[in-house]
């Protein structure tokens, strides 16, 4: 780790005011701190936002669930309101990392980092979420722009995520055996008007799988996916899974997600 100035702030305003081109926000630190320790990244200023109270909390309002950016995965997993409104969202949070990660890592941190193998971005896409930031509201589909890239501007801070409540949904992750991040993660959400299917871990950034959505819009059943065969040419390939294997996993995870939807 290289030396830096450390700031603890109490409000969003204070945080954004301090931000510069060489600064970073520190939420749970589950990715940031290891990468700083390995000197993969370094900053002149680290702005700790954990004490910003307004960023915490879970609210179910009408057809949406609004979760504050600082809310920890463990809190989402344990929330009865979330579980009742969107069962799969609590289930997703429950499956992130290990108890230490779930008790430090936050929703805002996860989506701002936008790791291509993270779970939460798929929830944002499948549940048609709106990302609230310190300066605006962005549709999730316009938020995740590339590998570890989002449409956040320098100094802009995610404050909350507003998820739409589907009729039923399920998230199935096939974890990377080493890291237990998603080698492939498929989030299926059935709304009155449409079925949304978000896939994480398979490309450089989370995406909607139109082939699966099309098949499930016609017939929301496991067997509807029997004949779906995905192209592998645009999928990630690494030592743990070839693109071809990922293509097959996406379909099998999607089938399990359909079967497990509630």
């Amino acid at each position: 780790m290289k030396a830096f100035n450390f700031h603890e702030v109490k409000s969003v305003k204070e945080a954004t005011k301090l931000a510069s081109n060489k600064s970073t926000f520190l939420a749970g630190g589950m990715t940031l701190i290891p990468s700083m320790k390995m000197r993969l990244s370094s900053f002149s200023d680290v702005i700790d936002i954990k004490e910003i109270k307004e960023l915490y909390g879970i609210k179910v309002k009408g057809k949406s669930v609004i979760i504050g950016a600082n809310t920890k995965h463990a809190d989402v997993a344990a929330s009865k309101e979330v579980r009742k409104a969107v069962h799969s969202l609590a289930g997703l949070a429950e499956g992130i990392g290990d108890p230490q990660v779930r008790n430090c890592g936050t929703l805002g941190g996860s989506i701002s980092n936008n790791d291509p193998t993270a779970c939460y971005p798929s929830a944002c896409i499948a549940l048609d979420a709106t990302i609230h930031t310190s300066s605006r509201k962005v549709d999730a589909e316009n938020f995740f722009t590339g590998m570890f890239e989002t449409s956040l501007k320098k100094g802009e801070l995610v404050t909350a995520v507003e998820f739409q409540i589907p009729e039923k949904s399920c998230y199935i992750k096939f974890p990377n055996p080493a890291s237990r991040y998603a080698m492939v993660g498929v989030y299926i959400a059935k709304f009155k008007k449409e079925v949304r299917c978000a896939v994480t871990g398979a490309q450089s950034v989370v995406y909607r799988c139109k082939e699966i959505e099309k098949a499930l819009n016609n017939n929301f059943s496991e067997s509807a996916l029997d004949s779906v065969s995905l192209k592998s040419s645009n999928l990630n390939s690494d030592i743990h899974a070839s693109a071809e294997y990922r293509a097959s996993l996406i379909v099998s995870c999607a089938q399990k997600a359909v079967a497990g939807s509630k």
Binding site: A178, Y181, I239, H240, Y245
Partner: protein, 792 residues
């Protein structure tokens, strides 16, 4: 005190400190005026070093010095050595390249040690390291085990990258068995490379005292005495009598901390050169890159079989990867720890084993839990499985038919096995695993859309390493006896010094149990002292499941000497004949009388001989004061633990995911001192063995970069990867040591890879290599079904 401690599940004495975070590891030690060291390592797998410019770094804030091979040579510090000489089949000695402690003109793996930055803080050392400019001429790396002999030589004068071409066995006799065989079964196997992953990364602190001229090295070692010997005699760092090595609490080794590393040599030397304590703690990434790795064999093997299922011959042809240099025990691991074991526990009349050891631009490979024996067991057990299937025989029956049945048994290669009953543990394992109802469980799995398979593995190890005369005749640089010293204190408690080292093996408890039983002293009054060359006698450390069989026996022998002396003193005090004194439960008794002395009273009398009223001195004439005895034990033979393991897996054919559903092991470790500790050793071994079979793999890309250099990519198994293990034992005591013990530390890692792989292959009906990751299993199933479709 009458109840025997040997054989009891005594709770671990060491748990209190470890479970309350009070262990004291090398990194926990802080010395006054200490400096911090950071190693600059090669980012290239193979390169020439054209120049190292340290000028900027030397001027950086807080930097004390930047040391390179130049300074090392100024001080005439020797390079690292290979400690076991192997002779090739043509009579020539193995070829060993120079292995300088800091690279002088070339680097040979990513992570090779190039320079040391020493600064006031670690931060400053790391910052300065970024200012050191090393000018490399990058060369094409030789990475794969199988390609090494056909590639450019990476070391001058070592043709085909071949260190040695070694053979064992009677080739002519084996050829004859093959020419008269009814059936020959062949296969090619890869034994995947593993990273040892001790929980505590390596660390060293050098401390030179200019007043006494003593050099102390605190380090993470399984073997501090041998490290001191090597670093004194070969690296010429400091004379042995002025050199102290302390290996305090050490968080696991699995072999990777047996030998002194370049970092130990450099840190000890730097402390002496700079006259300040130098502290170095390895980071996890460096640990992946620079700890010696394990395994990495490619093997062709074949069996000669008669129609009735009798195996008459075995041929083994192995290429073993040594990595960039030959580490201390690297050359014995794929030869004498491997070759003699290829027969497994089968009675095979002829065998021939050829091992070619090659250099590649990868981290050095050395002993890792099991060292040679897992590779041998994997080979023979996979081959036996395949042979049974090709012979159309039940895999269990085929094994049983070929078991050794009479003991002692002289194998056709090297070992003379003193005791065992292989059918006993095999039958018990079949029963415990409910083999007879396997088909029913398979049908249940099929109903859920899953594929179920069962796999067997039997194994034999040569442990209790090792009879000195035997190993030295085979090229060992040292004998492998062990020492012990029992120091009674005047107040009746005991310090036990051992030359072995505990880094997870629970010696504090196990050895105290032996002493408690032998001397009738409560466990809490017995303290084990190890890991400090200034405190105990020279010993050979801990590896090869040797500590109990060899070190424990030395302790038992020292206890016997204490009793012998105690009897003389007791007889004198009780006015009896030493021959008639009996010693039992801590008391010296004159039979048929009420005359007795406790061992505590005897100890007190031995130390304070002038204070006894009615007799002038409690010590008979010619008996020296004090109660302290030393014993050295050199075993007469290896010990031969053996066992049978049964694994059942369930495979999801849609994803290839393999779950170990049940795992059963029945082992014969001879007598058990503490069954709870033994069980812990089995669990750990199984975790590593199942890890090798399904998850772990050290993977280098074609340029020699270690792709799996963190836990993000190197799959360490976790608790949820394992079922509850079913564990049981049989017992045929070892005859080679008086405790009748055989060793248990490596068995799990030796037996489990073939048990798991045989189960996976049984489930999917086609070959797959280790680790059988979900993708590989999925691909194997897909290829099988594609081939079927094509044929149809």
């Amino acid at each position: 005190m009458a109840a025997s401690m040997i054989g009891s599940k005594v709770e671990r004495k060491e748990d209190k400190k470890f479970l309350t975070g009070k262990g004291r590891y090398t990194a926990d030690i802080t010395l006054a005026n200490q400096t911090f060291a950071y190693f600059i390592r090669s980012p290239h797998a193979r390169a020439k070093i054209k120049n190292i410019d340290t000028s900027k770094a030397k001027k950086a804030s807080g930097v004390i010095d930047v040391l390179t091979a130049k300074e090392l040579n100024e001080d005439k510090i020797g390079g690292l050595i290979a400690g076991w000489k192997i002779v090739s089949k043509d009579g020539t000695d193995m070829k060993i390249p120079p292995h300088p402690a800091l690279a002088s003109d070339s680097v040979n793996y990513v992570g090779d040690h190039v320079a040391l930055v020493v600064a006031e803080t670690l931060q400053q050392a790391r910052d300065a390291a970024e200012l050191v400019k090393v000018d490399y001429k990058v060369l094409k790396a030789v990475v794969n085990t199988g390609d090494a002999m056909n590639s450019e030589s990476i070391h001058d004068g070592i043709d085909k990258n071949l260190s040695f071409d070694w053979e064992l066995g009677d080739k002519a006799k084996t050829d004859e068995a093959f020419s008269s065989a009814d059936k020959i079964v062949k296969m090619t196997l890869t034994n995947n490379r593993l990273v040892p992953n001790a929980m505590e990364p390596r660390a060293s602190i050098g401390d030179f005292n200019p007043s006494s001229e003593e050099l102390t090295l605190y380090t993470t070692s399984q073997n501090p005495h041998l490290s001191r010997l090597v670093m004194s005699a070969f690296n010429a760092i400091h004379p042995e009598h002025k050199f102290r090595i302390v290996a305090p609490d050490v968080g696991g080794g699995f072999g990777s901390k047996i030998y002194p590393y370049a970092e130990d040599v450099v840190v000890a030397w730097a402390a002496k050169r700079l006259q300040r304590p130098v502290k170095w703690v390895c980071e996890r990434t460096d640990s992946f890159l620079s700890d010696c790795h394990g395994r990495d064999h490619i093997t062709n093997c074949e069996l000669a079989i008669k129609n009735d299922g009798t195996v008459t011959g075995l041929k083994v042809d192995t290429i073993a990867n040594l990595g960039g240099y030959a580490s201390l025990f690297a050359t014995v691991t794929p030869t004498y720890l491997y070759g003699p074991l290829v027969l497994g526990l089968y009675n095979i009349a002829s065998a021939y084993c050829n091992v070619k050891a090659v250099y590649t631009n990868t981290a050095p490979v050395d002993a890792y839990r099991g060292a040679g024996r897992p590779e041998a067991t994997y080979m023979i057990e996979r081959l036996m499985d395949k042979a049974a299937k090709e012979m159309g025989m039940d895999r269990a029956e085929f094994r049983k038919k070929n078991f050794i049945r009479q003991f002692p048994h002289q194998q056709c290669l090297v070992h003379n096995i003193d005791s065992g009953d292989y059918e006993a543990h095999f039958n018990k394992a079949l029963e415990l695993s409910d083999y007879s109802n396997f088909e029913k469980r398979k049908a249940e799995s099929a109903a859920k859309g899953k594929l179920r398979g069962i796999g067997f593995s039997t194994y034999i190890e040569a442990c209790g390493i090792a009879p000195s005369a035997a190993v030295m005749s085979l090229g060992a640089g040292v004998g492998l006896w062990e020492s012990a010293e029992i120091r009674f204190n005047a107040t009746g408690n005991i310090s036990v010094m051992t030359g072995t080292h505990s880094h997870g093996q629970s010696h504090d408890t196990t050895f105290a149990q032996i002493v408690a039983d032998k001397l009738g002293v409560p466990m809490e009054n017995i303290d084990l002292v190890h890991g400090d060359t200034d405190k105990g006698p020279f010993g050979m450390g801990t590896y090869g499941s040797r500590s109990l069989a060899v070190g424990g026996t030395a302790i038992a022998k020292a206890c016997d000497k204490i009793v012998e002396k105690g009897k003389k003193v007791a007889a004198h005090m009780l006015e009896a004949n030493p021959d008639e004194i009996e010693f039992k439960d801590g008391e010296f008794i004159v039979p048929n009388s009420n005359k007795k002395k406790t061992i505590g009273e005897i100890a007190f009398a031995c130390y304070l001989p002038g204070t006894y009223g009615e007799i002038k001195s409690p010590l008979p004439e010619g008996v020296e004061p004090g109660l302290k005895e030393t014993a050295f034990y050199d075993p007469v033979n290896f010990s031969f633990p053996a066992g049978s393991h049964v694994c059942e897996v369930e495979v999801d054919p849609t994803t290839g995911e393999t779950k170990v559903d049940t795992y059963t092991c029945v082992d014969d470790f001879g007598n058990l001192i503490n069954p709870m500790i033994v069980e812990g050793q089995i669990h750990g071994g199984l975790a590593q063995g199942i890890g090798q079979a399904l998850y772990e793999n050290a993977y280098y890309d074609e340029t020699g970069q270690l792709v799996t250099a963190s836990y993000m990519d190197y799959t360490m198994p976790r608790a949820d990867n394992f079922p509850e293990f079913r564990i049981d034992y049989t017992c045929t005591p070892a005859t080679s040591n008086p405790l009748g013990v055989k060793g248990c530390g490596e068995a799990g890692a030796i037996a489990s890879p073939p048990a798991v792989m045989n189960a996976v292959i049984d489930a999917i009906g086609t070959e797959v290599s280790m680790p059988a990751t979900s993708e590989k299993v999925w691909k194997a199933l897909k290829d099988k079904s594609d081939t079927k479709k094509k044929a149809a």
